[in-house]
Amino acid sequence: MKRSVLSSRMVLTIAALLFGLPFLPLVVASFSFRWHWPDLLPGAWLWDARGTTPFPVGWDYLFSPISGLGPAFLNTMTIGVATSLLAAFIALPAAYTLARHRFRGKEAVEFFLLVPVIVPQIAVGIGMLLLFIRLGIARTYTGIVLAHLVPTLPYSVRILTSVFQNLDPDYEEQARTLGASRMQAFRRVVLPMVLPGLVTALLFGFLISANVFLLTFLISGGRLETLPTMLFQFIESGAPLDATTAGLVLIVSAPGLVFLVLSDLLTGDPVAIGRTTLVQDAKQ
């Protein structure tokens, strides 16, 4: 028992190193003004060069109003929160039904829910764009949130389904015998008991939305900038990694970090999400 705990801790440490180390040069690069091969450290730091350039560079640029980082950040947050809430709202009854009931065509429904993960986003995106233009919701928050539901929903449904599967139906039945209607049993007993899973689904939905580039890019038509679309412009220019891009990459990665912290605070389990999906996979 003790041995398995120890080894799992080692695996975790190695994983954390593999995951964290690549960020180190990014942090250094985001503070460098000139960093040429084969120097181990930058030849000139950002703070040395401050004021010598005609326009702000690196963090100075990112945090100046001209970069547009503020609105992009706000857009990412707004769209992410709206998407995850909407996805959870749709996924909750779907997942409950999938977990509790057997019905004709259940496998078909389950497959259908997984399809968005299989079909290329470019195909989905262009189709949606044409439809949204006709509906007049292209280039709007509504359109982008709806588009973001496509990659988000399969995960929300899967996570919540496994959460409901792990909740013994006994509890609802107890509530029923004690005088609770179906709705009361759900609200007073089921919902509080699946809350950690629900929080996980919300956070995961947010994380997916915050990382979507292609769908946002297609539907927004360049009018609404989010962090991923903003980052894409820098990659497009083909320049080597400069301080500004490095800083932006770090900012785009921030939601993931926020996710881990929030997950830990709200469910007491930093990798709750990994656990629920693993449980689901083990069952299949």
Binding site: E173, Q174, R176, T177, L178, G179, A180, S181, P192, M193
Partner: protein, 363 residues
């Protein structure tokens, strides 16, 4: 308090029939034990009565009123489940008050009633604990309190003692009985444990997968089982093949035995039957010297020679395996007199304890 009637109730899962054409009556205020092996459909029956599942056919009546179309939350029943007995996210107090609050009482207003039932199950002062802070036995008692606080017309217990260890089980059994008698609530208790059913019940039924085999007072079922299945399921017994001779004797591998009066009322002279003799009803005595040397000595009626094959000490009493002629018998004796394997003994089989059951081929 209600009387419960079940009329030709049927339920199948997919195409497997679980209950077929089942009839059952439980008198008002009665503690009714429903005993059966696992898979006989007893839990299904309980869930049907609770309304958690719907029957395919038949009727369930509380005091003569059909409740088949009444949803579980309006049947006014109290139910104690076999496992996961409490809501883990609520305190003891909130758990118990749940039923009252669903009926529109506020938590504050429910508190006096909550404290009353907590006292009833001897857990006063545990209000603010969470289920995870309680032992299994305490959780079970809170579950019982939660079930009775709503003043149910019917209390349903699903294997209430099966998850408790032996000592707790005894305490809980006594508590269950005293709470039920104090409240006088009609109770149906499902169990696979014959001791539990026999000790708790006013009346009981033995349920097998093909239906209810027998209904009656525990002593009635134990002393006068209706068939071989019931006899074997309740306690340990000896079933000996025999042939009726007249109406009061039977020929068996251990000799001719006088049988209980009226025991063979449904059988006729010459019928093949099973003789049912409880292990503890057979008396065992050392065979005297005259028996050792003179095997031809005549024994009185319903006595037989036997040889001890093996013995198992069971604390307070001993279970012997003895051989008499071609027949192996189990005999339970007090442990103050011990017989070693190989010892010659005389068995005394009182006629009033020789029951007659329809033979293996269904006489």
């Amino acid at each position: 308090m209600s009387s419960i009637s079940i009329r030709s109730l049927s339920k199948r899962y997919d195409s497997t029939p679980v209950l077929q054409d089942l009839d059952l009556d439980v008198e008002s205020g009665c503690f009714f034990g429903l005993l059966g092996p696992s898979g006989c459909g007893k839990t299904t029956l309980l869930r049907l009565i609770a309304g958690l599942i719907e029957p395919d056919a038949g009727d369930i009546l509380f005091d003569g009123q059909s409740v088949v179309d009444v949803p579980p939350e309006r049947r006014r029943i109290g139910m104690v489940f076999q496992q996961h007995v409490l809501f883990p996210h609520m305190t003891v107090e909130e758990n118990i008050a749940f039923g009252l609050r669903m009926r529109g009482t506020g938590l504050k207003a429910a508190l006096p009633a909550v404290n009353d039932v907590l006292e009833l199950v001897q857990l006063s002062g545990y209000n603010k604990r969470f289920p995870r802070q309680l032992s299994g036995g305490q959780q079970q008692r809170v579950a019982l309190a939660r079930a009775v606080v709503i003043d149910p017309v019917l209390l349903l217990l699903d294997e209430p003692l099966s998850n408790l260890d032996a000592k707790l089980r005894d305490d809980m059994r006594e508590l269950l009985r005293s709470v039920q008698q104090r409240l006088g609530v009609t109770t149906i208790c499902v169990t696979h444990d014959q001791t539990e059913a026999i000790e708790l019940s006013d009346r009981m039924a033995v349920l097998f997968s093909d239906g209810i085999a027998q209904t009656g007072a525990p002593a009635e079922l134990y002393e006068r089982p209706a068939n071989v299945q019931v006899a074997e399921f309740l306690g340990s017994t000896n079933l000996i093949p025999g042939t009726l001779v007249g109406t009061d004797h039977a020929e068996s591998p251990i000799g001719r035995l006088r049988i209980r009066e009226m025991a063979a009322a449904q059988c006729a002279d010459g019928d093949a039957v099973q003789l049912n003799i409880r292990c503890e009803h057979i008396g065992m005595h050392p065979a005297g010297d005259e028996h050792q040397s003179q095997a031809w000595v005549r024994l009185p009626e319903n006595h037989a020679f036997a040889e001890v094959v093996s013995s198992v000490y069971r604390g307070g009493f001993i279970l012997y395996l003895v051989r008499s002629g071609s027949q192996t018998l189990r005999v339970i004796e007090r442990s103050d007199r011990q017989f070693v394997p190989g010892a010659r003994v005389v068995l005394r089989i009182p006629a009033e304890h020789v029951g007659v059951l329809p033979g293996p081929n269904g006489a």
